[in-house]
């Protein structure tokens, strides 16, 4: 796996926030590689810096050290349009990630307008159908949609530019259990159909087990242990922390 050309390469990444003169190290010297069409998970409790890694890739968090490479090339700062067409993100809270005063249509057309892509009507309709929403929702506002429907819109938006890589920041943690499964299955289907590469953050090992080939366990901004899916399934963890995290969600994993 490690020998195959990696699509996402992160080397010794550190992110340091400056909070009122105090330096907060959110991520310290984390390295990871995600192969093409792979699905890579980041787990850890809240505050372990897993979401910060995604934000750092997108240029939304300050990188203090280390390198980020996409497709073998170091990312530009600011990221630019070519990056946007290659990497997109789905945010955790669908209630906060859609503009409250834009219709679904506007939200989905915006990336097309930014990149000067034509034929917007047809593309918006297709995008809605692809994520399992009726086209009659096109001119609704976010407050007229449920949480699950909003997250579908957010996924559709992320896919408008046909990116290779999708960064998923706990895409289901704000949703009801029944809706969670639907959204996860939708993501699985889209990954298969489009050959997407996922880098997914979750605090829920059951979700990661369902979705990912490899997992990186994080604690306090550091990488603790990297596991393959088989190692995860047979509970072959090397570290105590990974084992305790696994024990906490083992019951639900066995159900699934």
């Amino acid at each position: 796996m490690g020998d195959v050309m990696a699509l996402i390469e992160i080397e010794n990444l550190s992110v340091t926030f400056n909070a009122n003169g105090r330096r907060v190290r959110a991520v310290e010297a984390v390295s990871l590689k995600v192969g093409e069409k792979a699905s890579f998970g980041l787990v850890g409790e809240s505050g372990s810096g897993k979401s910060t890694i995604l934000r750092a890739i997108c240029g939304l968090a300050p990188v203090s050290a280390g390198r980020i490479r996409i497709g073998g090339e170091a990312v530009q700062s600011p990221r630019g349009k070519a990056f946007s067409a290659q990497v997109q993100m789905v945010f955790q809270d669908p209630y906060a990630s859609l503009h409250p005063r834009h219709t679904v249509d506007r939200t989905l057309s915006e990336p097309l307008a930014i990149h000067g892509i034509g034929d917007r009507d047809a593309r918006v309709m297709t995008a809605l159908t692809d994520v399992g929403l009726p086209t009659s929702f096109r001119f609704r506002y976010p407050h007229q949609l449920s949480g699950g429907q909003r997250q579908r819109v957010a996924i559709a938006r992320a896919l408008m530019l046909k990116p290779q890589i999708l960064l998923l920041d706990e895409p289901t943690s704000a949703l009801d259990a029944s809706v969670q499964a639907e959204v996860l299955n939708l993501l699985m289907r889209l990954r298969e159909e489009r050959g997407l590469t996922f880098l997914m953050v979750s605090h829920d090992l059951a979700v990661i087990d369902h979705m990912c080939d490899r997992v990186l366990v994080m604690q306090n901004g550091r990488a603790v242990e990297e596991l393959s899916r088989t190692a995860l399934a047979s509970a072959q963890m090397q570290t105590d922390y990974a084992r305790s995290l696994f024990a906490a969600s083992a019951d639900r994993m066995l159900e699934g």
């Binding site: 349009k81 834009h102 219709t103």
Partner: protein
């Protein structure tokens, strides 16, 4: 007729609008239904609409020429046949002058609300969005303008520019943008770090697009509310400038100017100053009630997300 109106109202309640226009109209209709529930706001709206109608139809409604003098009819009390509000010291019908005065008031208000909030919105959103030294520079300029009392600064500007209606508007606009910049900046700061702004940045949007298309719509409600609440202040400042002789010049029937003229005989012929005073009072009250009602409808925090 009933068929048509019921199909209209279902069209306006359609949960799945078929076009951008319908979607926007549905939202406007829902806001209107919410607005209609507030009787005070409806009174404010009625007063504002009445002001607009008065100024449009002033030539038809006014029984006399507002400027032509009739010295034989000087200082007739209210209730005199033909002059129900009385006449002033040049024998001009006060009702006619108030009607034509509404045009000047509306003209000043419109010019100010078309300029000051736009300037304030641009400065506030740019300062809030970029932060850093841009924010520092723009907000210190705003602070300097805020440090002067409005009327005093307007007086200074008019003293430099010379008296007159256009200069009065300019002076009022130049002194009233800072609060809008403050409001817009505060709103921008709350929106700037939200996920939906991060999402559109991640799609490669430039600062212009983010500010105009994504940040400004979020600031607009607060600014609009502030504008309607400030309209009364604008009218009062314009009247104040007129009263001091630095705004609209005689013989134009501006309300502040009319109060100023009536001041000389306030105790003997009270109506000369009182009638335009009442007009200013009613219109200011109307705009304030309207602003209060709009706050309930437009405030993003009260209308749900």
């Amino acid at each position: 007729m009933t068929m048509a109106s019921s199909s209209w109202s279902t069209w306006l309640r359609e949960p799945n609008p078929a076009s951008r226009l319908q979607s926007r109209l549905v939202q406007a209709w829902l806001s209107w239904l919410r607005f209609r529930r507030n009787p005070l706001a409806m009174i404010g709206l009625a007063i504002s609409v009445a002001l607009v109608l008065m100024s449009i139809f002033a030539p038809l409604l006014a029984p006399y020429d507002p400027i032509a003098q009739a010295l034989g009819n000087r200082l007739l009390p209210p209730g005199t046949p033909g002059h129900w509000m009385g006449t002033d010291d040049f024998g001009r019908d006060i009702w006619s002058r108030i009607l034509f005065g509404s045009r000047i008031t509306l003209y000043i208000v419109l010019l100010v609300i078309l300029t000051a909030p736009v300037v304030g919105l641009i400065i506030g959103t740019v300062a809030g969005y970029f932060g850093g030294w841009i924010d520092q520079v723009l907000m210190r300029i705003t602070d300097i303008f805020l440090a002067f009392p409005k009327l005093i600064l307007a007086l200074a500007l008019v003293a430099v520019l010379g008296p007159g209606m256009v200069n009065a508007v300019l002076a009022i606009a130049l002194t009233s943008w800072p609060p809008y910049a403050r409001v817009a900046r505060a709103e921008t700061l709350t929106v700037r770090n939200s996920d939906y702004i991060a999402a559109v940045k991640l799609q490669g949007a430039g600062a212009m697009r983010v500010i105009l298309g994504h940040v400004m719509p979020m600031c607009l409600p607060s600014v609009i509310i502030r504008v309607t609440l400030d309209m009364a202040g604008v009218i009062l400042t314009a009247a104040g400038l007129g009263f001091l002789g630095l705004g609209v010049q005689p013989p134009m029937p501006e309300w502040g100017l009319m109060i100023s003229a009536g001041r000389k005989f306030l105790f003997e012929q009270w109506w000369v100053a009182t009638m335009p005073g009442l007009a200013i009072f009613i219109v200011s009250l109307g705009f304030n009630l309207l602003g209060d009602g709009l706050r309930d409808v437009l405030d993003p925090r009260s209308s749900g997300r």
